[in-house]
């Protein structure tokens, strides 16, 4: 779990969820390789690893880019279970994809059984302002209700792409530090833990 920084850098596992076509792969590829692919190729599941500097500390990030479809339900749970943080993506140009975030949130909570799992709500394709269907206000409210942060991104212009990944990793890191503390002490129930987010952000 939390390895001493002597040997291996810390590893944070991030999972991209959201309906098909919202830009999960685009965001991932932009973050990983600074590239943007115009054509849409449905993903089954892809995984990436990158070494980065997070506030001066070298860490590794594992990103799992999943399929939006329901076809892989059994497989999906296997991935969700192993995720330490989630980027829940929708497209601001597509109302349906915003509605779907509700389902994804529920699935994640069901599998992780943890209200405070590191999680960001991400409204992608914010470069397409003229096609916007989901208002900033609306999305922020949902995020607030869940106790998570809302960020708008564009995989095309790279706006806030790094931000969502780094912010999430900070949450994961804080979460792990807290976990270590409590597991050294007595507290064992994840669900009783207080939210850390407010202090971080």
């Amino acid at each position: 779990m939390s390895k001493k920084p002597t040997s291996q850098p810390a590893l944070h596992k991030v999972i991209m969820v959201g309906s098909g076509g919202v830009g999960k792969s685009a965001l991932t590829l932009q973050f990983m390789y600074d590239e943007f692919v115009e054509d849409y190729e449905p993903t089954k599941a892809d995984s990436y690893r990158k070494k980065i500097l997070l506030d001066g500390e070298e860490v590794q990030i594992d990103i799992l880019d999943t399929a939006g479809q329901e076809d892989y339900a059994a497989i999906r749970d296997n991935y969700f279970r192993s995720g330490e943080g989630f980027l829940c993506i929708f497209s601001i140009t597509e109302e349906e994809s915003f509605q779907a975030t509700q389902d994804f949130r529920e699935q994640i909570l069901r599998v992780k059984n943890d209200e405070n799992i590191p999680f960001l709500l991400v409204g992608n394709k914010c470069d397409l302002e003229d096609k916007r269907k989901v208002s900033f206000q609306e999305a922020s409210e949902r995020a607030k209700q869940w106790g998570v942060t809302y960020v708008e991104t564009s995989a095309k212009t790279r706006e806030h792409v790094d931000k969502v990944f780094y912010d999430l990793m900070r949450e994961i890191r804080a979460r792990k530090m807290e976990e270590n503390k409590t597991s050294n002490g007595k507290g064992k129930d994840k669900n009783k833990r207080k939210k850390l987010k407010c202090t971080i952000l």
Binding site: M1, D46, S47, Y48, R49, L64, A74, I75, N78, R81
Partner: protein
């Protein structure tokens, strides 16, 4: 069946038993000191054999173990379910990490580390994974001691060769290190060593057989075979194998063994063919292995639950029986993105392997075996797949771009595009003539599809008079290989004359005398026709038989139902009944063999008839 097998056992029990006794003695000598130093472990081991109840004790033993100083033996005794899989998991993870980092620890250092991590993981994971872990994968989804099909499914070779991993690994190892080993298969290793390896496989641990000696690996292979609930020759076919193995006429024996081998289900065929080909190479290296077909048969027939005679026969006919079987060494999926191949073909092969591995991980997880290590592996494999796909895609892009460039250059020079045109035309021409010729093998292909139906049919037809139980009807007859051979012959011939007939088409001179090859074609065509007619007739008959089978089944069901509703009072004199049963069974056996011989004769006569009539037709045609 019964009498054959009892004969088998009569044939060699002395030899084998004495051998195994020797082994047992040797084993106890060998491991005496182990027993003394780790008494507690061994008592645990004994219990472990068939006792899962004693979990509490297992836990206690575990505490003791951590202070023991040998990594291997620690793992074999009884442990509580949970702690066991932690241990294994952390070790396999460690191996992966180790090989990835190319870290070179000294052996004992490593062992210490193992232990440390083991302990740590017990503490750490104990709380997190408890709820997800239903039990021990080695107990709930073992690889040894389950039907071949399950063993393959649970421990795949990810290169598409459908053999259980330990089975393949043993053969790989023995092909590499065993062919120079004197008395291979005869010399045994301590059972504890073999059991330890079996346990590692059942736990899905990383196993490096190269660390072990030849007797241990032969022992492991033997154990796998012995643990199988069903013979690899299948209980349906094994009697027939024995019958075929007992045929005196060498050519006939070979022919029948070949048919039987061809009738094995794919997975069994795989297992049988690899094993026999491997054993055959052992006998080919008799000078260094000191083992010939006879001694191999004497050593292994009881393991395989077949007679020495049959095993000897299989070994002697091996080259004819398994013509295309090549033992390919298994290269497991890569474990690091750093080693990805650069060639497209290799990348695609690797991708298939990784995907196969991925689906195995998923199915293990879906069966409830979730551990930190398996999750780690899941992400890792997924990452490899992603990288491979990216690499392949970029390769494809490069190829595509090149293709476009070439096209452009062609279009620019009018001359070359014309050339292309003409080339294409000639190509289609060639194709046309090929198609005509291909009709022959094609139709044969078609008939081949129906062959196993035919088989049954012929049986039914020819033995209709004999009162044999429905089960026995599926006996085969020489047909399939015959047609097979013909088919290949046909294909060859058509290929040979392809060029010639293209020429004849071009010259279009009907007055030219028929070439020898043309005659052959004509002859084969005629024969083919008759065979096709025969096929149709047989299919018709088969339909009738099928209906009859369905009808009989219904009757059977009714009778069974009646029997259920009106329980028959069983005669207390069941001893007598048993004897009668035995007698009847023996009689049936004899009738069965007679039937087989008759079927064989009928088919041979039939073949001759077809051959003759084809010749006859040809002669009348050319007159």
């Amino acid at each position: 069946m019964e009498y054959e097998q009892s004969n088998v056992i009569k044939d060699f029990p002395g030899l084998y038993a004495s051998e195994s006794q020797k082994i047992n003695n040797r084993e106890s000598d060998y491991s005496e000191d182990e027993k003394l130093t780790r008494k507690d472990l061994l008592t645990g081991k004994k219990k472990d054999k068939k006792d899962k109840k004693d979990k509490e004790k297992g836990y206690a033993a575990l505490e003791g173990e951590s202070s023991a100083d040998e990594g291997y033996e620690i793992r074999s005794p009884t442990k509580s379910k949970k702690s066991k899989s932690f241990k294994f998991a952390s070790k396999s993870k460690e191996k992966r990490e180790k090989s990835r980092d190319k870290e070179k620890d000294f052996a004992d250092k490593k062992k210490e580390k193992d232990k440390r991590i083991d302990k740590k993981s017990e503490k750490e994971k104990g709380k997190n994974d408890k709820k997800e872990r239903p039990g021990d994968i080695a107990e709930e989804l073992p690889i040894f001691g389950v039907p071949l099909e399950l063993a393959v499914e649970r421990s795949r070779c990810h290169d598409g060769v459908d053999l259980p991993l330990p089975y393949r690994a043993c053969i790989d190892y023995l092909q590499m290190y065993g062919l120079g080993f004197e008395y291979i298969y005869k010399i045994s290793s301590p059972k504890s060593k073999v059991l330890h390896l079996k346990k590692m496989y059942n736990h899905r641990e990383f196993v490096d057989l190269a660390e072990h000696d030849v007797p241990t690996i032969t022992g492991l292979l033997k154990m796998f075979l012995r643990d199988l609930p069903e013979s690899i020759f299948t209980s349906e076919l094994i009697v027939r194998f024995e019958e075929a193995g007992a045929i005196l006429n060498v050519a006939m024996r070979e022919k029948h063994l070949k048919i039987l081998v061809g009738n094995l289900p794919p997975l069994n065929y795989m297992a049988v063919s690899w094993l026999i080909v491997h054993l055959y190479t052992v006998t080919l290296n008799e000078k260094s292995t000191k083992m010939n077909a006879q001694s191999i048969a004497a050593t292994l027939s009881s393991t395989l639950q077949i007679s020495q005679r049959l095993l000897t026969a299989l070994l002697c006919h091996c080259p004819a029986l398994f013509v295309d079987v090549k033992l390919i060494q298994y290269i497991p999926p890569l474990i690091s993105t750093a080693q990805l191949p650069d060639e497209k073909d290799l990348m695609e092969i690797e991708l298939k392997k990784q995907e196969s591995l991925l689906s195995q991980i998923h199915s293990e997880m879906n069966a409830g075996f979730v551990s930190k290590q398996r999750e780690e592996l899941l992400w890792e494999v997924q990452r490899l797949i992603t990288q491979l796909k990216r690499k392949i895609r970029s390769k494809n892009r490069v190829v595509e771009e090149k293709g476009i460039e070439e096209k452009v250059s062609h279009e620019n020079t009018g001359n070359s595009s014309e050339n292309l045109e003409t080339e294409r035309i000639t190509a289609t021409k060639k194709k046309d003539s090929q198609e005509v010729l291909n009709t022959v093998p094609l139709s044969l292909n078609n008939s081949e599809d129906n062959l196993d139906l035919n088989k049954k049919e012929i049986n039914n037809a020819s033995i209709a008079s004999e009162n044999v139980e429905v089960k026995n009807i599926e006996w085969d007859f020489p047909k399939p290989t015959e047609v097979d051979q013909e088919k290949t012959a046909n294909v060859k011939i058509t290929q040979e004359i392809e060029s010639k007939s293209v020429n004849t088409l071009q010259t279009e001179d009907p007055n030219l005398p028929l070439l020898a090859n043309d005659k052959e074609i004509m002859y084969l065509n005629l024969k083919n026709q008759t065979l096709l007619e025969l096929k149709n007739k047989l299919i018709e008959k088969m339909e009738i038989e099928k209906k009859e089978i369905a009808r009989l089944k219904l009757v059977l069901k009714e009778v069974q139902y009646k029997n259920q509703t009106e329980p028959v009072i069983i005669d207390s004199n069941s001893d007598n009944l048993d004897k009668i049963m035995e007698l009847l069974q023996n009689e049936n056996q004899i009738l069965h063999i007679k039937k087989i011989n008759l079927v064989r004769k009928i088919m041979e006569e039939h073949e001759i008839c077809i051959d003759l009539s084809a010749k006859l037709m040809m002669l009348t045609a050319s007159c």
